[in-house]
Symmetry: C2
Subunit: 347 residues, 2 copies
């Protein structure tokens, strides 16, 4: 499959937008940013074996490659518009590419994102995406603008993606991949059963996998929070690590209530409390939003949560200082078993 056949296949499937003056097929795309808007640009890369397991379905890889980028736009309260895609593939596999595009373009269509250009190269499987969105001047949510006494909130639930990864990399991981049905005993180890797919443990694992493989970029709530929240970040490296970036950029500290961290019923069912807490506090790949807002905004945020159908949970408070402190139910300080996921140095 020569590169230009591949480009034609991609071009035939992309969404049209009026602000795309010239899309795929020339040396560069020509795009029209609406008058009075700022351009918002983010770029993220996924490498096989680092950012997704080797066994991940190509459609899930496609979805996730765009989702992690849209998540960055969500955290800025930006409206998505365009993307470019660079796809490095080890060989010719038209069926793989079509499946990849199924996932990538399904998410693009949900958010009316036009794929306007990029590159296809030979190399180890790697996907780089650059996303472009718009924001009105002064409306973008930043990391550096959290204020002391702000509430700290998160969207959705925490630790689901990390829970799926933990189950996949447990000793029983191979059984997990072959037949995703298992239960976790009190020690945290997994006992797998070749159970019926309707087994509750099976569907719980499947729902965790969905968080890992098909994260939901929080575009709607990100847009709704502009003007209400003071600061925001998306949680890619784990709550503590990412909230730490907000604190460092804002020159503040944070105090979290461990018991307030939202957990899915699946995570509760599959992991004992101690391991679950670690997954929620330090696990990566959730792509939820963590944001801060003054206490006066609580009612507004509850209304936004209802309107956007996204759970929003108040998990703590911005304080003076520079540390992110977590308080257990008994008021003592809680420390996670290990630091959050970091790309460099942690593999």
């Amino acid at each position: 499959m020569p590169e230009f056949d591949l480009i034609d296949r991609i071009r035939a499937r992309v969404l049209q937008r009026d602000d795309v003056v010239l899309g795929i097929g020339d040396d560069a795309a020509l795009l029209q940013v609406p008058a009075g808007r700022q351009l918002v640009v983010a770029m993220d890369t996924l490498n096989v074996g680092v950012h997704f397991p080797h066994a991940t379905a190509p459609a899930d890889i496609g979805w996730k490659a765009l989702a992690v980028n849209l998540s960055d736009l969500a955290a800025m309260a930006a409206e998505p518009a365009w993307c470019t895609l660079s796809l490095s593939l080890p060989g010719d596999d038209p069926a793989w590419v079509e499946s990849f595009l199924d996932g990538f373009l399904a998410l693009a269509a949900q958010h009316r994102v036009a794929l306007v250009g990029g590159d296809t190269t030979r190399g180890p499987l790697s996907i780089s995406v650059t996303v472009h969105g718009f924001v009105e001047p002064g409306r973008a949510l930043r990391r550096a603008t959290a204020c002391v006494d702000d509430d700290i909130w998160v969207s959705g639930t925490l630790g689901d993606a990390a829970g799926a990864l933990a189950l996949m990399s447990d000793d029983a991981g191979s059984a997990c991949r072959a037949s995703p049905a298992g239960v976790v005993d009190a020690s945290g180890s997994v006992a797998w059963t070749d159970s019926d797919p309707r087994d509750p443990a099976h569907s719980a694992y499947a729902r965790l996998r969905l968080h890992l493989d098909r994260p939901t970029p929080r575009i709607g709530i990100g847009l709704a929070l502009a003007g209400t929240a003071n600061a925001a970040i998306d949680i890619s490296d784990g709550l503590l690590a990412d909230l730490g970036h907000v604190c460092a950029a804002s020159g503040v500290g944070a105090q979290l209530q461990l018991d307030a961290l939202p957990a899915s019923s699946e995570l509760r069912a599959l992991f004992p409390d101690a391991r679950r807490h670690a997954l929620q506090a330090s696990g990566g790949d959730d792509y939820e939003l963590c944001f801060t807002a003054p206490a006066t905004a609580r009612h507004a945020i509850e209304q936004i949560a209802i309107a956007t159908h996204v759970l929003c949970t108040r998990i703590g408070r911005i304080v003076t200082g520079s540390d992110v402190q977590v308080l257990a139910g008994d008021g003592t300080s809680w420390t996670p078993p290990r630091a959050g996921y970091v790309h460099f140095g942690s593999e």
Copy 2:
């Protein structure tokens, strides 16, 4: 070297621009496109062993990763403004990163390009860059607008980068890398000598390597050609392949004069005519511009060449049909020994 240390190192070295509202360090960059301009976006990836030899110096990799992207802006007659960089590295090597940035940021400074964001990940060595530029509506040079009877022009000389690659991958390649001094006999094979570095053959090879490792994006002449040229493309995959894209997009054919293709004195010195012609017609990585313009524009183009200090050579004519035909000095049709470089399927 954790990712965030690396990001701080990069941030400390980047150029500032007034139109960068928020650069490196948040979830996304905030950028201001000038009123009345269209945004021009291109994205290209370089993978080790595919787009540059394993032995390439990190500063050259940095330069080239930005150069191949700026070349796309040049071919659109766009003014460069911003870029994002995604860098996948197999391990922690601060010295490598600093050298890479030396090359990348030296070229960025030449063209006042601000690095505004991106990603650093663990993985096989791979560099993705997205570049952003501006163009006035209607002034961009496209592939699809070549007209029958247009002259066909190229900037610079052709085949130098491919010549360097050919020497590196000849049987004598290891000698070449160790001591780049050699001569090519009439059969096209290379006889290497452990000669003095001032040996003419040595400096000729070094100059070819410079074309391969440090290509010059033709930004200045690209901008100058807006309003004069009808169509343009940059030559990354080889003249015949890339001119073929212009012809396909414009619904025209092309007739080239083989003897008119510009060659450097180094290429003439190191390769016999037959092999040199093949390198000029089909070799990739030149990053020169190929453009078409009406015959009435000849004087204007000569003036642009003088003003921008870039050789411009008229090499043929756009004709009806769909083929790119090359005529040898005796008027017979010339066929290259093999098709131009194609990423997919040709490795």
